[in-house]
Symmetry: C2
Subunit: 201 residues, 2 copies
DNA sequence: GACTCTACAGACAGGTCTGTCTACTATCCG
DNA sequence: CGGATAGTAGACAGACCTGTCTGTAGAGTC
């Protein structure tokens, strides 16, 4: 009874022990594995083993694999937008608020386990027109709306055009950071954003 | 014997009939399916069925699935760089040559079957440090060298910095075109590239 | 005509995948 | 105590995966 802690995420039934519920452990496990190896590559069995959770729990909680993927993407969506908003809120001047997005992105890149945008990876092999594509569309339109608002407040003469340009840079930086395994691309992206902002006034 | 043309890619042995060898048909089939559904999702069986080729031929010609993926990526690499070079060579002025890259990219986006950069998709679920990642690295460093050369010739004060910025835009445009299913992003990218070029002189 | 090369057809092994199902159990709440 | 809740363990079906193997056949070459 005392010697029960065999695996890191082990628990004494009912999701107690480390305080995390089966749902939390599954989501954490899925996030880790999906990020590292991709949604298609990682199977259910590996996720539940790593989480120390029964397969039935996964299907009770998420319905099927796609449900788990959606939850994983939703959590990422919320986390990323929260991060960006927090970085923006640290500044008053519209110019600094806009550029703060690219600084927050740089912090993300520097995280040791950064493996690129989850939506980009997930949609690469997902069926077209499915729920995963929809989740990605939602995420992207939210980011675009954010850039449009920031561009307006910064006084761009054509805020939509600037917003599109900024999103291209945001996307490109995220992609380059992953493909080249080079977080320093964020400073390049910030500089480019600044130049485009100046030119748009 | 006369009624032998059942499937589109059917042949009368020895790669004759439609003139394409087993290798060509496999590569065309793999390209079509990989582009549409992803490297992990598409299995060997579907490729050979679609190509009208025996499984043994695939393994004789490419060794294994990874070999086929590499050939697919190599063909894409050559095709894309050739396209870009051709677009560049149509102009004399260094400025126009540089911007021609983004115009060529726009043409690519407008192709009906555009599904984003194959290297981005393939590396999303490929094992790290493997041959696929290597192929992507090669491709990217070649594109970077191209941008650096164009930036030098266009008279940028810091050609490397401009090249990195341009590659970010190039990457971001390709990603946005796929994710948003919107080829018009190419004109946004071209405009951004022009602004950055002007600012870099 | 014999030989070699290239290709086809398809069975097969061994493994992995998702998703379902049965049976059991610890904890909490009333 | 007695149920409800939330979980565990693991067998199982059915599909699909990669890769190997055997056998056959057309076409060019000597």
């Amino acid at each position: 009874m005392a010697t029960r802690t065999l695996r890191p995420n082990q628990t004494t039934r009912h999701g107690a022990a480390d305080g995390r519920s089966a749902r939390e452990r599954l989501l954490a496990s899925a996030t880790e594995l999906f990020d590292a190896q991709g949604v298609q590559t990682v199977g259910i069995d590996r996720i539940i083993e790593h989480a120390g959770v029964a397969k039935a729990s996964l299907y009770n909680l998420f319905g099927n694999k796609e449900g788990l993927v959606r939850a994983y993407l939703a959590a990422r969506h919320d986390g990323t937008t929260a991060r960006l908003m927090a970085a923006i809120e640290r500044h008053r001047s519209p110019r600094k608020r806009l550029l703060a997005v690219f600084e927050a992105q740089g912090e993300l890149f520097r995280a040791r386990d950064f493996r690129g945008c989850a939506f980009v990876a997930a949609t690469a092999e997902a069926p077209r027109g499915g729920l995963i594509e929809r989740a990605a569309d939602d995420y992207r339109s939210q980011i675009r709306a954010l850039f449009t608002e920031l561009a307006e407040q910064a006084g761009a003469s054509d805020p939509r055009k600037l917003a599109r340009q900024l999103q291209v840079i945001y996307d490109g930086a995220g992609l380059a950071a992953r493909m080249d395994r080079d977080p320093s691309i964020a400073t390049t992206a910030r500089a480019a954003a600044e130049t485009l902002l100046d030119a748009s006034l």
